[in-house]
Symmetry: D3
Subunit: 251 residues, 6 copies
């Protein structure tokens, strides 16, 4: 067996039983198009890899990742019309997350950290958490993501040489591509990074969703200027912030 001992999936039930009091991290992602240079799985992969680094810091357990996520929206993920984007409905995300959280609570876990890396998931994850938390108030359940915990200082360092287009356009762009270059470089097709799209975020949502609402490549802004170093900066900062958040409720 490999030396890594934070993956719940590789534990026997007794190993999990012995370690569950340290807290459980639940990574949540998506199966969603990320332009021509990144694979469909990156939200889930980033959530899982950051969770593993976090778990190693605080000796916690990483539950199996929720790989599929809520519907991709054009303005934040390109939308459902790209082949390979596999969307769950809102009610399914709520039920799925609630069932898993409830089972962890029933197993006696006292701290759960939901680490979400797909923006569209959040409202539905929080609904699931709220439903479960009313039944199991003795378990602290925290939810966050790698972008909301970044300080302005970190953002400035990541975007010191290129302009920051705003989080609204950071889909398959510099932050996600840098994270992948750091966490799983073999999955990045650097030669296929699209150039600037000129895409502007819209302050409204329009339905029905039709082709052509976002750039053809699926990227909302260019990932040019991404690097593994930037990915490491983001990862380290997010993990450090997550540790601080969790320690508030365990110390």
């Amino acid at each position: 067996m490999n030396g890594n001992n934070v993956y719940m999936k590789y534990m026997t039930w007794r190993e999990f039983e012995e370690k569950k009091s340290h807290g459980v991290i639940l990574p949540v992602g998506s199966v969603e198009q990320h332009s021509h240079h990144l694979p469909l799985i990156i939200d889930s992969l980033i959530a899982e890899e950051i969770s593993v680094k976090l778990a190693e810091k605080i000796d916690a357990v990483v539950a199996p990742t929720l790989t599929y996520g809520y519907k991709s929206k054009p303005l934040s993920g390109g939308g459902p019309l790209f082949p390979g984007t596999i969307d769950l409905s809102g009610q399914t995300v709520i039920s799925l997350a609630a069932d898993i959280l409830e089972e962890l609570c029933r197993d006696g876990v006292k701290l759960i950290f939901v680490n979400n890396a797909h923006f569209e998931n959040e409202a539905f994850l929080l609904e699931a958490i709220d439903i479960v938390s009313r039944k199991y108030p003795e378990t602290v359940i925290l939810e966050s993501n790698w972008w909301d915990v970044l300080s302005q200082d970190i953002i400035d360092r990541v975007f010191e040489d290129v302009p920051f287009p705003g989080w609204a356009l950071e889909h398959a762009a510099i932050t996600e591509t840098s994270l992948m270059l750091y966490l799983a470089p073999q999955l990045v097709r650097e030669d296929k990074i699209p150039s600037e799209t000129g895409f502007e975020p819209l302050p409204y949502h329009k339905y029905p969703i039709v082709k052509g609402m976002v750039p053809e490549s699926g990227a909302l802004a260019s990932a040019k200027g991404s690097s593994a170093e930037k990915g490491k900066i983001i990862t380290d900062a997010a993990v450090a912030e997550f540790v601080k958040i969790i320690e508030k409720y365990t110390k």
Copy 2:
């Protein structure tokens, strides 16, 4: 009968039939605590009043407001523990909005604008819109809110004399209070506006929700510096932007 002829609720069925081709605006709000100086209904009232001004500009119909909304969260609305905050679950908001939108589509309405004034509603409204839109793709359904359409210039004008605390803290604060001073001044208890709270937004969600997570008054930032003039600036800007958005799909 009063001279205002945009309220669907005051129309007979035949009056609605004659006017429905002009488009329908659906205001959505909440019943949620807004500190000591604002009543529970303000999200719904702001949504409705702005919708009426918008309808008058484009000769559209304002459907009866969805008064109750999704669960108030501590970091954006103070949360469920304040008496008088009446929360709907996620699935209820989805079903409620979907039923109404579907009925409007079945009535042959070709453009619907969902005007939301309660941040927490948005993901669930969009889920409802997506579900209905797949069945009735011939109807254009738009969703927006008064804050996302404000340009930086407008924000600068509203906050020219006081610092902008960020949208995260704008609950029962300057923008909402100014809107109420403009749209329904008789409902504002100006003498009860709380002073600065010192509250800082947190980059994560924590459950179970318990008392003390937000300032005792229910305000996340002080509304001192609010004025009817600022409310008018916001209202006029939002209405003008909404007109532009709708015209893209009707001209």
Copy 3:
């Protein structure tokens, strides 16, 4: 602020907290065609206006009205095919009412009176009440409507000069029109009251619902002979009976 102090929607959270022990009235209506002389909203408006008068008598709180209601049926409301009739499905009405009632119970309200003015709502409201009441048995929840509490004597007075067609046909007819002439006369188009329809109630339901099952105007019986005086008789009688019902459970 206006002098009326029973509307929950115009209260701050603290004002509601102080008054909630007096009981809460929840008006429920519909958005449904009511022929050529009455607007779509009348069920909701009648429910709310009677609730306000009731609340003033017993110093209670009126919660925001549930404006949208269950599906209009041909034999009691003309059915779904009239433009402007906006129907909720049964499950949505159950969820919507249950969420609101549960929130009121969680806020510590000990008496709730559900005042329904749309016949078709009743079974679904009672299902919601039953579900909530099993969880919160310490709150008394009452449900009634203005027509079931009228004594034969009151009915005789209202119909002293015209024949009573039976409750089955009283849609957009004398009782509802009289109530509107008393409660909101500016919304009644008296010149558009249809003549006798000759419509007969059927002792069965037939699906699919198609055009032509009810008179073209949407009225099931003529409203000729309606008056504000009759509206006042009904209102006063209903309020007096509601007071008696509530006092049984609070004295």
Copy 4:
């Protein structure tokens, strides 16, 4: 095999295939207390027996009876607190009836008559019918019950020697007991018929439901004065009216 050839349950699939074009009758009842002299099943039994007589007249098929029904209410059935009353929730009744109706439509049945004998079922059955009918508009679905089709003349004949307490109190009283004396006399314990209860119907619903809201026996009015002859009068009248209703849509 017995000579009766209307029961779908006793047909092979090919026999059903050959006869389904004649229309299908779906009896719906309940498992609900009916005082000391009648068994729990009588609503279902009455629905089925009348359906069989109706089917024999028009050569139709009787589908297996929906034995369990919606929640018994105190004011119409004594309520859920009597042992042996087995209640389905509203959503279950809707789903159950909708699944069966949809299957009959998919089998190509063109006329379905839902014969309900438990008052509380009706709103949920109609919701199911409405949902299915929108998908299968080519099938006519009718719903009625034995009491709504009785003319005043029939009611007068049944109550010529005893006063009619109103339908609200006709639970385990003269009409149901007479029907059972005609349709299944071996199941009536005539010696256990309770005397007058003095119970008065209330014009409102009160929750939580507690013991003592209805007479201890479970009967809302006395069944004294019941007879098989009265049961035959009701049965014959109901069947005759049902035939007329169905013929409107098949001739």
Copy 5:
């Protein structure tokens, strides 16, 4: 009244109250094609008849049979395309069974035996039981069926003169036909028993379900060689095993 005193449906509420401590048996079946020689109802009939024999042995109560069951599958029941097969969806079976089991638990029943005679029901019945059992752990709920309790010795006796095709093909074949010849011989059309089909079970499921996936008659194997004696052997063995199972939890 007949001498049989195990049927809950023929009891008054008080008779049920007196007997419910002996345990309740809930038969569950289906409305499903069973070839040309057996009627649609046989699963429900077999479940009910065996339940009655079991109840007589242990003085228990037989609740009204759940007549309709989960979707027939081609490989175990011929599938949904045969006219007369009336399928419930999975969620409906779960809700229906859960509502009834919960009501029995609320009535204070301490032992429930769910006797299922339609293979496809099982997973959904167990889901219902699990949901209810978590709320009412003081009630023992058992689930079984007549085929799983048969010993190899019994199977050998039933198939001493014909080969056993395996349970996968025992639909409308020797075991079910023999049971019907013993329990309700008047419903068996012996002259219509199909000859050998040559049908082979497949180790996978294929959708969409289309005509021709199973033999035209609807039988998966021939029922030739069936007899009332074999039906009695199976019935007696199943009842004896059920008694032993129940006694483990009541002695």
Copy 6:
């Protein structure tokens, strides 16, 4: 990027678009205790590994594995009381699988093979498939598992030196352990394989589920006698059979 090109998760949207016409395999597993020698994830891991081998044979795509599955039952998986067993409810499995299958159909995939390795999932997966298949009948959806396709000859080879306890006891026993020794030997703790349990399968289900219903280790039969060779025999046989099944619908 690694050389393996069957994983959908590692594809970009365009790579998936190009390959989707070859068919998609959806592995489904569970997070469930598997005694002291196997980790929680093995059902999902076996499903995924066999799917990859299958995909390589037929040049198909392997969708991201459904890692969490339906409730573990005592008689087939040890049940919910072992820490680390994380169960989804039936409705969640149905919704989750249906959403994913529907998205694949909407992407134009014409053949989907659902490869399930957790017995308890099957009925709920088939319900999801049935729901989706009625909407998208042009897509062939197949469902199977590695054990149902094994011929008697293969079973004889696997159990040539130890007795076959029957599939009912093959949980964490010889077949699963051998598969893991072949597919992921580093995850098997061979020194912790329990000895014979003496556990006998029961022909009924009993609720509530309590501790002690299965052996303390969580294994239902001993895995002694497992080997990588046996795992390879099973894997090769299953893959070969799956290829044959799929070819029936694609050639």
